[in-house]
């Protein structure tokens, strides 16, 4: 358990920097804004205390905000999914609950389970973020369209990113 902490700290910085310097620079279309960095919240261990989840969510969102001139918007969306994560995990739990020592990753529970769990969090995060961002400026429809396209795109990148770690840990 303790040995995982340095890896999570590293991945925190990696996700923030990857988001700010690579994903946000890729110009695809105004409707495709992937936010891969929430993978950090998605993959935190099952046993993470709920208060820590909220605090980590707030710090993660705030550090992304720092770079994107969007004071508070990512923070609000991240805190929301950090708060909802335990409920969503519980509702997607397998029959015999989650095993001790496993992580919410496709290695342990398969890609189908992970996709279901991740897309729920992604949609909530993206919708909330785009809703705040465009508050009063854009129409509701375009927020929905943005959410739909970006969510699918984020999930796609997320699954590709996780493929790199897939075969290695399968033995466990």
């Amino acid at each position: 358990m303790i040995t995982r902490i340095p890896r999570y700290i590293l991945s925190f910085f990696f996700f923030v920097l990857f988001q700010v310097f690579i994903l946000n620079k890729i110009e695809l279309s105004g409707y495709l804004n992937p936010f891969l960095y929430i993978l950090f919240i998605v993959t935190l261990p099952f046993e993470t205390p709920k208060w820590l989840l909220l605090v980590l969510g707030a710090i993660l969102g705030l550090s992304v905000d720092l770079f994107l001139n969007s004071a508070g918007m990512h923070m609000a969306a991240c805190v929301l999914i950090a708060y909802l994560r335990p409920f969503i995990l519980r509702s997607f739990a397998p029959r015999d609950s989650y095993e001790v020592g496993t992580l919410p990753l496709p290695n342990y529970y398969g890609f189908a389970w992970f996709a279901k769990y991740a897309i729920t969090l992604i949609i909530i995060h993206h919708f909330f973020y785009f809703f705040i961002e465009s508050f009063g400026v854009e129409t509701f429809v375009s927020t929905i369209v943005k959410t739909a396209f970006s969510s699918i795109f984020t999930l796609l990148i997320m699954l590709i990113a996780l493929l790199f770690t897939y075969s290695r840990k399968r033995r466990i």
Partner: protein, 275 residues
């Protein structure tokens, strides 16, 4: 008292959640409503330095286009030199007169961060108060207008990009001199909307749209773009014109900051006469 404590402890998660969300929303309300108060902005020291490093790498990859642009601008500037005008005696006396009062000063800067796909887009450049940059100066690129500086730190400045609905710029049609205001409609990164052009104006596709010079920020005649489509909303006496921007915001690398030496004087005079 004890029962209140008990209540808080029992629902501490909910309270923490609400507390964090309140912080987030107060940040949003304080620092996003008022465009001049970017607090956690990309002109801060740490993020500014990081952005500069990555933009150095990006600029290296785009050297060819940048060189082309600089060469073009060199050529343009050379054509503006006194030598490239036909010299006659009376012309020179006039020119000597106007050169003693420079109204606009230009400073070159390079873009270290820029976005085009958010609802509110900002641009960060690598010059700040140490180089004499102040808020409310204009930013242009060799191809046309880019935005306005809103906040400066020692070595960096953040500006509103033209692709930001909070920025409105006074503009006019080059052909007919009718003026209106330019703003972004949040749709694509290469078109903006020109409004308030009266319906009796003659507009045709391909007309040039330039700055009007009525604001104290930009001089008259800087290119904004060309007319791309004209719409006449029913029941209104104004056209809604979509303008194709001359600047490609996704490839911005070098810009110039314009300082209007008489800006304060003009604003002061206008305020006094309004009283």
């Amino acid at each position: 008292m004890r029962s209140i404590l008990h209540f808080i402890i029992k629902y501490h998660l909910g309270f923490l959640f609400i507390f964090l969300e309140i912080i987030a929303f107060s940040l949003i309300v304080t620092f996003n409503q008022n465009q001049r108060a970017l607090f956690l902005s990309s002109s801060s020291k740490i993020s500014g330095d990081l952005f500069e490093t990555t933009s150095n790498i990006e600029q290296y990859l785009a050297l060819k286009t940048i060189n082309e642009e600089l060469a073009n601008e060199n050529a343009y500037l050379r054509s503006q030199m006194i030598k490239s005008f036909k010299q006659s005696k009376d012309y020179f006396t006039l020119l000597g007169d106007s050169s003693t009062t420079t109204q606009y000063k230009y400073r070159a800067a390079s873009v270290v961060n820029n976005s085009t796909k958010h609802t509110f887009n900002y641009i960060t450049i690598n010059k700040g108060t140490d180089d004499g940059i102040k808020p409310d100066m204009g930013i242009i690129s060799p191809r046309g207008i880019v935005g306005i500086i809103i906040k400066c730190s020692k070595n960096y400045s953040t500006g509103l990009s033209l692709l930001n609905p909070r920025l409105k710029i006074s503009a006019k049609l080059q052909e007919s001199d009718f003026f209106g205001s330019i703003s972004w409609d949040n749709k694509t990164a290469n078109t903006v909307i020109l409004e308030e052009i009266p319906e009796h104006a003659s507009v045709s596709l391909g007309d040039k749209v330039i700055t009007s010079g009525y604001s104290s920020i930009f001089p008259e005649g800087i290119l904004i773009g060309t007319v791309d489509g004209v719409e006449h909303p029913i029941g209104e006496s104004f056209y809604k014109i979509s303008v194709k921007l001359s600047v490609d915001f996704s490839k911005l690398s070098f810009v110039e900051v314009i300082e209007n030496v008489f800006q304060e004087e003009k604003i002061k005079l206008e305020e006094e006469s309004r009283r």
